[in-house]
């Protein structure tokens, strides 16, 4: 016990913890940003958990066969887009229940991911591994003491996720297209009246969101780990859904939530390895419990896009 507290106040411990926080938060940031842009257009994508899993799987297989991690990411994006289009067909063009369709996409994608993985690799006693991404230290910046180690000695995808946060914010609040997207999400009929194509906007939002979820999934098998396991996503997709609510549908606040999750996740990992006398599974509970507590904290104040969950059928008005 005493040794743990000694450890916590060591510089190397703090550097390791904070650097891991940014790493663990990265798939959540990708997923959360993807879900935010989707929900801002009025579509809840509960397919996220399955999309992240099947992208993680295909990204892994692509890297396993070609040896190129970036090719794996590309394939993961493609898979994310395909499943987002499936979601678009169901909830945008057919107007089916977003809850049930999303769960259906998740269950289908999960089953398919396990099926394809098992067929591709068989049942070896040792699961195959890939050469994962190497950290990409940014020249000069990574030499800064303390901050350099934490912030600028990360995987390239980590920097990409940081760059996406302001890009998404500027897109949503400072561009015409972002405004159009938000109008579609708040009041699709008004958007239609001023000539915005509601269905196309929602489909594009789903596609961009699916691509981001795909990258989040690929990060798990190509950087965070170097193999594919059935529980590699392990509820992170649902955590992203929670972070969207926690962040009140704002990319910056949602990403801060993701960082909080990353911190708890990194912290519990370190508690596990510190040889504490408590089973490590109790620490694994922490990120999920704290996510729920965070949701309680914001529940009364949060305001979802008014058009969320509502299909838009122009023809319905006449009956």
């Amino acid at each position: 016990m005493g040794s743990l507290f000694d450890q916590i106040f060591q510089m190397s411990f703090i550097i390791g913890l904070l650097s891991a926080m940014f790493r663990m938060a990265t798939p959540i940031i990708f997923g959360t940003l993807g879900e935010i842009i989707t929900e801002r257009s009025g579509v809840l994508n509960l397919g996220i958990e399955g999309i992240m899993l099947i992208s993680a799987m295909f990204g892994f297989l692509a890297t396993l066969t070609t040896g190129s991690q970036w090719f794996g990411v590309l394939i993961a994006i493609l898979v994310g887009v395909i499943f987002a289009l499936m979601m678009a067909f169901l909830v945008v063009y057919l107007g089916l229940s977003q809850h049930v369709s999303g769960l259906g996409v998740t269950l289908f994608a999960t089953g398919l991911a396990m099926f394809v993985y098992r067929h591709a690799v068989g049942s070896p006693t040792i699961p195959p591994i890939v050469q994962p991404f190497k950290p990409f230290p940014i020249p000069y910046l990574s030499d800064i003491p303390f901050f350099g180690q934490i912030l600028f000695n990360q995987y390239a995808l980590v920097y990409v996720s940081w760059a996406l946060i302001p890009i998404m914010w500027i897109f949503l609040y400072k561009t015409r297209y972002g405004l159009a997207l938000r109008v579609v999400g708040e009041n699709p009929m008004a958007a239609d009246t001023v000539g915005i194509n509601v269905n196309l906007t929602r489909t594009l939002a789903l596609v961009v969101g699916g691509a981001l979820m795909g990258v989040g999934g690929a990060f798990l098998t190509l950087a965070h780990q170097n193999m594919f396991l059935i529980d590699v996503v392990g509820g992170r997709g649902w955590v992203c859904i929670a972070m969207v609510i926690f962040g009140n549908w704002d990319p910056i606040r949602g990403s801060l939530g993701a960082l909080l999750f990353g911190f708890i996740d990194a912290f519990q990992l370190r508690l596990q390895s510190s040889g504490f006398a408590i089973p490590f599974h109790l620490f694994l509970v922490l990120p999920y419990v704290i996510t729920i507590i965070a949701l309680i904290g914001v529940a009364r104040k949060s305001s979802a896009p008014a058009g969320l969950l509502k299909p838009y059928r122009r023809e319905e008005k006449g009956g």
Binding site: L107, I278, Y288, R300
Partner: protein, 360 residues
């Protein structure tokens, strides 16, 4: 009119008059046939012989007395989780947490099963079953209270609680519930008193299957013949209107959640007391999530849940034989399940809408 609209024909969805009752009942069967046909794509991808694959799928599920009874055995937990989800969904309480509630039931059943003192067997079983039911009910109470008192989204909270319960189970199986001397996450075996009686010789046909069928009847009775059932239906149709109409919505949702969680927990109790006789991390291969599919295919009707649970049990049991004989991965069962749900949703849409082609 824009240029594009003038040149092409457009397809739109138009409301159609309600279909006759028999057509409504036919829809799930059509969805099942279509998903079985579409599953030929992954089978071909996995280089399985189509005829052999489908033959062994059905032979494995129904071909012999033992296989048929195994399919009955597998349908027991699926009926419980299917009923659990259907019962909650009728009130539009989105309980996606059947998996965690199942585990809660399994954990409590194991704990009592190991420590049960000497007493008549029926008393021991009654104790375990009711304690398991309460455990699942209490676990489902959390998302219900979060939804009604704190306005936290029930989908997200019930989903996240699945992972919480899974890790709690891990902590117990590596801690106080671990079999002494074992390094694996498994509990000691439960006492003979706690084991469900087997009802048919040379099979695993156990008490839990009968319980599942009784549960179908009870839930049907609650839905159709009681005030609670009526109130649940009204809340599902329109929460606000039900509230204005004088229905105590909060207390009805809480009751719904607890019954739903209790039903899911009985699936876990059965897996421990009739199948494994101890607790292990793999006690449920996702029965709670299958429950969502079963509930939707069964159109939230208890009898429909029974039928679709039996069907998916066939797929799960049959897929094992099929996989052994043809080399197609056993996960084909999961692919078919996911596909069925999506196809069912689309099929259901066409009971309410038809495609109209407008040419301009």
């Amino acid at each position: 009119m824009d240029e594009w609209g003038k040149r092409i024909m457009r397809m739109i969805l138009a409301k159609r008059p309600p279909l006759p009752y028999w057509a409504q009942i036919l829809i799930p069967f059509i969805a099942i046939v279509v998903s079985l046909c579409l599953s030929s794509i992954p089978i071909i991808y996995a280089k399985g012989d189509l005829f052999k694959s489908y033959f062994y799928l059905f032979y494995g599920a129904l071909g012999t007395r033992y296989n048929f009874l195994e399919t009955c055995v597998k349908s027991s937990p699926l009926i419980f989780t299917g009923l659990a989800v259907a019962f909650a969904f009728r009130a539009k309480f989105w309980n996606i947490g059947a998996e965690g509630q199942l585990l809660a039931g399994a954990i409590v059943a194991t704990w009592i099963g190991i420590n049960v003192p000497e007493m008549p067997k029926f008393a021991a079983l009654a104790l375990i079953i009711s304690a398991g039911f309460v455990a699942g009910g209490l676990w489902a109470l959390i998302p219900a209270l979060l939804k009604t008192k704190l306005k936290v989204d029930d989908v997200v909270s019930s989903l996240l609680l699945n992972y919480v319960m899974w890790h709690i189970m891990g902590a117990l199986l590596f801690g106080p519930l671990q079999q002494p001397g074992s390094s694996w996450p498994r509990s000691p075996s439960i006492s003979e008193l706690a084991k469900y009686p087997m009802l048919l010789a040379r099979s695993r046909f156990h008490l839990g299957i009968v319980m599942a069928v009784v549960a179908i009847a009870i839930i049907w009775f609650i839905n159709e013949k009681t005030v609670l059932g009526y109130r649940i239906k009204s809340i599902g149709a329109n929460l606000k209107a039900a509230g204005f109409g004088g229905i105590p919505t909060t207390s009805v949702i809480i009751k719904t959640a607890m019954i739903s969680g209790g039903l899911a927990a009985l699936a876990g109790v059965g897996e421990v007391c009739a199948i494994h006789y101890h607790l292990l991390m793999d006690v449920s291969p996702g029965y709670g999530y299958s429950g969502i599919i079963i509930a939707m295919l069964g159109r939230l009707h208890p009898l429909g849940v029974g039928l679709s649970a039996f069907f998916f049990s066939m797929i799960i049991v049959g897929a094992q034989t099929m996989s052994r004989m043809t080399g197609v991965p056993v996960y084909i069962a999961d692919v078919i399940q996911g596909m069925s749900l999506l196809i069912m949703l689309v099929a259901q849409l066409f009971t309410e809408y038809k495609i109209k082609v407008i040419s301009k």
